[in-house]
Symmetry: none
Subunit: 198 residues, 4 copies
């Protein structure tokens, strides 16, 4: 099981392309192999099976993103800034690669529970970043110290994810990164009409 090499990357990229173009259910291994200019059997030299390939797609693309995000966050001093950065980077990641956005927001969701469980494993590292921000904000005193952090995390992730998914389902018709700031503001201040804080 080679996990590196030029063909490994070619297969990953081919998978994103094919899934984005033809949809998850029309993305046969043979189609991905042809797009990657390798033989069907070659895919099995690099991936245990199709599920492993799909998890790897998510892992490769999101894994490095999560790391970069973590690094970026460390450079910000306040929780408010960190949350803003997280949303901004998330939206820009998807805007920078529309194919990837289709794959992660739409296609990779129509998979069986086992695959989504493994994807969930990767996502956990992202959710940890959110938890850290929340904790920090509460320590700083800028976030409500009585809130349920699990709920807060679900609100943050659910809002970002729903916003991104709607953008993809609307064929990327509007500018997603521009929404980072208002989304951030809304998460921090909620719906209510209070004196602005952000």
């Amino acid at each position: 099981m080679k996990r590196k090499g030029p063909k490994y990357d070619k297969i990953i990229d081919a998978a994103v392309s094919v899934i984005a173009m033809h949809g998850y259910h029309q993305s046969q291994v043979s189609k991905i192999a042809k797009q990657a200019s390798v033989a069907d059997g070659t895919i099995y030299l690099y991936f245990k099976n199709k599920e492993d390939l799909l998890v790897s797609v998510f892992n490769e693309k999101m894994g490095s993103f999560i790391e970069r995000t973590g690094e970026e966050l460390r450079e910000k001093s306040s929780a408010i800034e960190k949350l803003s950065t997280l949303i901004d980077m998330h939206f820009r990641l998807l805007d920078d690669d529309h194919e990837l956005s289709i794959v992660t927001q739409l296609e990779l969701r129509q998979t069986n529970r086992a695959l989504r469980a493994k994807i969930g494993e990767v996502l956990k590292r992202y959710l940890v970043l959110i938890d850290i921000i929340l904790q920090e904000g509460m320590n700083e005193g800028v976030f409500n110290q009585h809130m349920d952090t699990r709920l807060a995390r679900q609100m943050i992730f659910g809002t970002i994810d729903e916003t991104a998914t709607n953008w993809v389902m609307n064929d990327h018709r509007y500018n997603l990164p521009k929404l980072a700031q208002p989304v951030h503001q809304m998460l921090v201040n909620g719906l209510s009409n209070n004196a602005d804080v952000s």
Copy 2:
């Protein structure tokens, strides 16, 4: 295509049961038929095809829920109360039928885009309810009058949905309806440490 009768309901309920128990991809028509104690062919007297059955499952269960919710909201006088009611009813619907919650939060998502598009049609009527609440709250002056209502709707739905999905993925281990109040509070006031608590 008979759309009523005792067998119609029996098949709908059997589909929910089978999908919740065995998962979407292991829910063959013959399995649903057996669970409903009808012949395979009988299903096709009531539904055009398997996709039609699945859409109908969602429609039957969510359609009446959306109506009931709309009626309930009309009895509440403020946007705050209405939002609170919406979240509460949503969580109680899922808590009242754990099988249904598995089906709507997990299994019915791993379907092709065509099916999800039809499910989306039904959901739109739910999102309209949210929009009405938002508009009302802005008119009342309790919601921020400068906010992007589309984003606000995505925050509300995304948060509710993510919260519900996490609850299902944690095997309904904790009490979901109890989360309605804190979720509502968080949506209204955001993460920030405001003095006031709605």
Copy 3:
């Protein structure tokens, strides 16, 4: 098993219509029943099963034709005249009812061997008429007395049938009865350049 009554005829006619319009493989019992304005089950009061219905269609339509032809032939005095009459009546039968021509020449052939065997039974009575003409012509001395009558019968029937089938496959675009005379001439004199013309 009622073999008479107004519904019997209505079902037979409905079958011809439906088969001509939708083709053999799209002619379900329920479609024929609807066209005949009876319930599906009613068909089974008049016919043992679908095969029995189809054989009856052929029988009803061809049976009386064969009888009429036999009577007509008896009024002709020479074998030449009789052959001419046979071809003429055959072509006019099909021309008088285009739906029937589609059913007998195209649709009823794509059936299983059992059904075609039963249709063959009906046809035998027609072939007997041909045999009688041949025998008579040989006795009269106008037909070649050394010929194999089975072959002659196959030539006559094969030619008539092939001519009719081609006409149907060409959407009845030309006048079939007009071909009776030249077909007759060709069967009697063959391809060769004889001086005499019957």
Copy 4:
């Protein structure tokens, strides 16, 4: 879609065998695959679908026959000889492969119109051979120059086909090739009692 290779031929031959033995409607793909000693899926490496396989059966068997016949005819100098050769080769083809004769004369006819249309395409090349003979005979002056060549072609083909079909339906009980000469004689001279010419 590989169209050559040893398995291609094995599948074609297996199809003829299975159809001849079990009949068209009892010739499932899996039965043909088993007979050919390949997996079911292998058939779809060589044929687009079952219909494509069946058309290919006809094409492979009749296509080369039509070519051989065309070549043979070119070596004959007179239309009379050519017609004689055509009939003779046709009957010998069927007599050489009884299984094939069952398939082409009986089983392949009980197919839907789409399939028969494609088979008709192949047959057209055979009918062209007949047309050439007819034209030549008319030019030579041995065939009636006033005859309708389309009718003549239908008489020739209808007679040959009907003769062959009857032979198959009589379980090949008599010698078909021996009938070539009398059939030829009858086509040329017709039924009438003229001085022999052939």
